[in-house]
Symmetry: C2
Subunit: 216 residues, 2 copies
Amino acid sequence: SREFAVIGLGNFGSAVAAELSGLKCKVTAIDVNKTRIQELQNKIHLVILGNATERAFLEQLEVEKFDGFIISTGTDSHASILISLHLKELGAKKIIVKANSEDHAKILRKVGATETIIPEKQMAIRLAHSLAASNLVDYLPLTGEFCVAEITPPPKFIDKSLLELKLRKKHNIQLIAIKGGPDKGFTYGPGGDYRIKEGDILVALGRREDIDKIQE
Amino acid sequence: SREFAVIGLGNFGSAVAAELSGLKCKVTAIDVNKTRIQELQNKIHLVILGNATERAFLEQLEVEKFDGFIISTGTDSHASILISLHLKELGAKKIIVKANSEDHAKILRKVGATETIIPEKQMAIRLAHSLAASNLVDYLPLTGEFCVAEITPPPKFIDKSLLELKLRKKHNIQLIAIKGGPDKGFTYGPGGDYRIKEGDILVALGRREDIDKIQE
Ligand SMILES: Nc1ncnc2c1ncn2[C@@H]1O[C@H](COP(=O)(O)OP(=O)(O)OP(=O)(O)O)[C@@H](O)[C@H]1O
Ligand SMILES: Nc1ncnc2c1ncn2[C@@H]1O[C@H](COP(=O)(O)OP(=O)(O)OP(=O)(O)O)[C@@H](O)[C@H]1O
């Protein structure tokens, strides 16, 4: 299961930390304010009181073991910029930062943020798209039993054609696309004669337990 | 194409209005503040200066012709509650309101809001889910050429099996699920022998132009 660190436990940060915990990820929650730490103490795997702008504090975290960092330190734009800078230098895999404006987001990306989030703007765009034309995420309530997942094909799948594998009939999952490895694009709706190769990633729709079964 | 009204043109409201316009929807943008109206005048089909809490103002809008109303009138919770109440009485089809808190959201739903949005909380949950397990919406950049759409089957599709229709080979779309009419649930990954009936809705993945072709 994946491991994440959340820095800054305001509305956004604490909601991310709580939801990740609920999804069985390991979460380390960090805040400089003792009250915030106490509020989350019983809900989160590990909570740490500390000032994340201090590089020495971040160094003791084993930054590289985390699958990602989520930073939302409020209206003081400088804190999140400094934290992103340090984490980038310490080798963090993913640095996701809640930004206060488009300019703040630009600066964050320059110092190493891999993703910036402006909740209002992005929710506005998502709402517009879901009103103008339906989107699968409306049908797959993210808390539902069905999900879309990336599956690394097990060895027994390599060099087999989709027709041979019978993913829907035998494994109960529906293949939506093949991702040809990082940056090699997607093949949507591959045909039955498509042969799975080493490095392919299957993007599939199915119940969680069926998706897990494939990966066992 | 669909028609929407956006009431309250702060960051959220103006982003929704602009994005819906960009997606070729007809947008009526309403605000009580003249500067907001002037800022959007050249980008939006119709802008109207007015106080949406006044029922008489709303009555002159032909409320029933809109596919939905999007309300984001800021930190004054009372305005959005009053506007939702009036719109519900006037027969609005969809009333989507940006809420300031969970309590505000509860009140809004009681007076008729069909959907409430708290951008920070919802973006936090979406982020957590996309970090914990991939979601299709990560692959389908909402601005990309591929989309997921609900398709009402044309008459020539009724009573045909999926095998006969060859949706992927002949029509270039990939069927993800069949929605059996309102509240009748989804059939994910239907088999080739599934026969399309009157009232079915096809949930399909494909390029926009291919999806439009089916509906012609
Ligand atoms: N240098 C820092 N190190 C650790 N935590 C910090 C640091 N600076 C700020 N914080 C914490 O980040 C949190 C920011 O929460 P705040 O509510 O101010 O903003 P936000 O998270 O952007 O907004 P929201 O509450 O809407 O999510 C606070 O709990 C604060 O104590
Ligand atoms: N009764 C009303 N009728 C029409 N417009 C209103 C009414 N009350 C408030 N508004 C408008 O709603 C807008 C609200 O924007 P504001 O920035 O305050 O909040 P918000 O939209 O919730 O937040 P954000 O800017 O983050 O989206 C303002 O432009 C204001 O003029």
